[in-house]
């Protein structure tokens, strides 16, 4: 039974969702660092760029992406996965809330960013749920 369960549920660090979010966060970080003017010209990010400049957001995205990548690579290190998922969810959740607020208060904004960051948060939550499942299995 245990071998069947371990075959069906891969280690959470290797979940497809986590790899996808790691790629997305890395590209956001690089985009914010290398093309900050593009983000400044787009009204959708005004709330977020009022809080912190592009380079600071870019650094945060790259650090979190590096932690997520480390969690993918060192998938047996439970505490690393917990830290990476927590920071990834905090960053993604924060941006998602900013997009929801903007969508509710500005009738020129579409739902695209709300859906996109909602997908990233969903994928991270589901990856985190596998983490808990693996811990239960190993105990």
């Amino acid at each position: 039974m245990s071998s069947a369960v371990s075959s069906l549920y891969r280690p959470p660090g290797r979940s497809v969702g986590l790899i996808a979010v790691t790629i997305a966060y890395t590209a956001f970080g690089l985009g914010l660092w290398l093309q900050p003017d593009r983000w400044a010209k787009t009204p959708a990010y005004a709330l977020l760029l009022d809080l912190l400049p592009q380079q600071v957001w870019g650094t945060i995205y790259l650090v979190v992406a590096a932690l997520l990548a480390a969690a993918v690579w060192q998938c047996q290190v439970w505490w690393l996965a917990v830290v990476a998922h927590s920071l990834g969810l905090a960053l993604g959740g924060g941006w998602w809330i900013a997009f929801v607020i903007r969508w509710l208060t500005d009738d020129k904004t579409t739902v695209v960013n709300v859906v996109s960051w909602g997908t990233y948060v969903l994928l991270l939550v589901l990856s985190a749920s596998l983490l808990e499942r693996r811990r239960l299995e190993s105990s």
Binding site: A4, G17, A24, F28, R38, T42, V112
Partner: protein, 138 residues
Amino acid sequence: MNPDNPIYLYRPSRRNIGLMAVTVAYAVTGFDLLLQPERWERTAAYGNLLNIISAQKWAVLYVAVAGLLAASLWLHQRWGLGVVAHTTGIALGVFWWAAFVIRWLTDDSTTVANVLSWGIYLLLLGLSSMSLARKVSR
């Protein structure tokens, strides 16, 4: 492993998380295009796409494809339905992704956000479609 009762890492299932995520994303995008078309028309990022067909027609396409994807989740044993749903989902996603790539390359006021979002949807659909290939090879 018992060949009569194999275990597949990728198999058609109602618990296909990636397919669920894309289904929800397509459905929300479709309903938003249908119910709030003026928001899309006011946003420059979608200019290329709305020049081709109107927001309402894109909405119908998104809702129809989301319906097919949802049906393929529910009736996950129907291989033909899965193939049609994944094919139309990937075709729609690739079209929009290509439009965002072109806009990102040609307009320096556009961020990479939409390129990445639609890229992730395509990645999830591509990985989900692997379950169909495994079923064929069985």
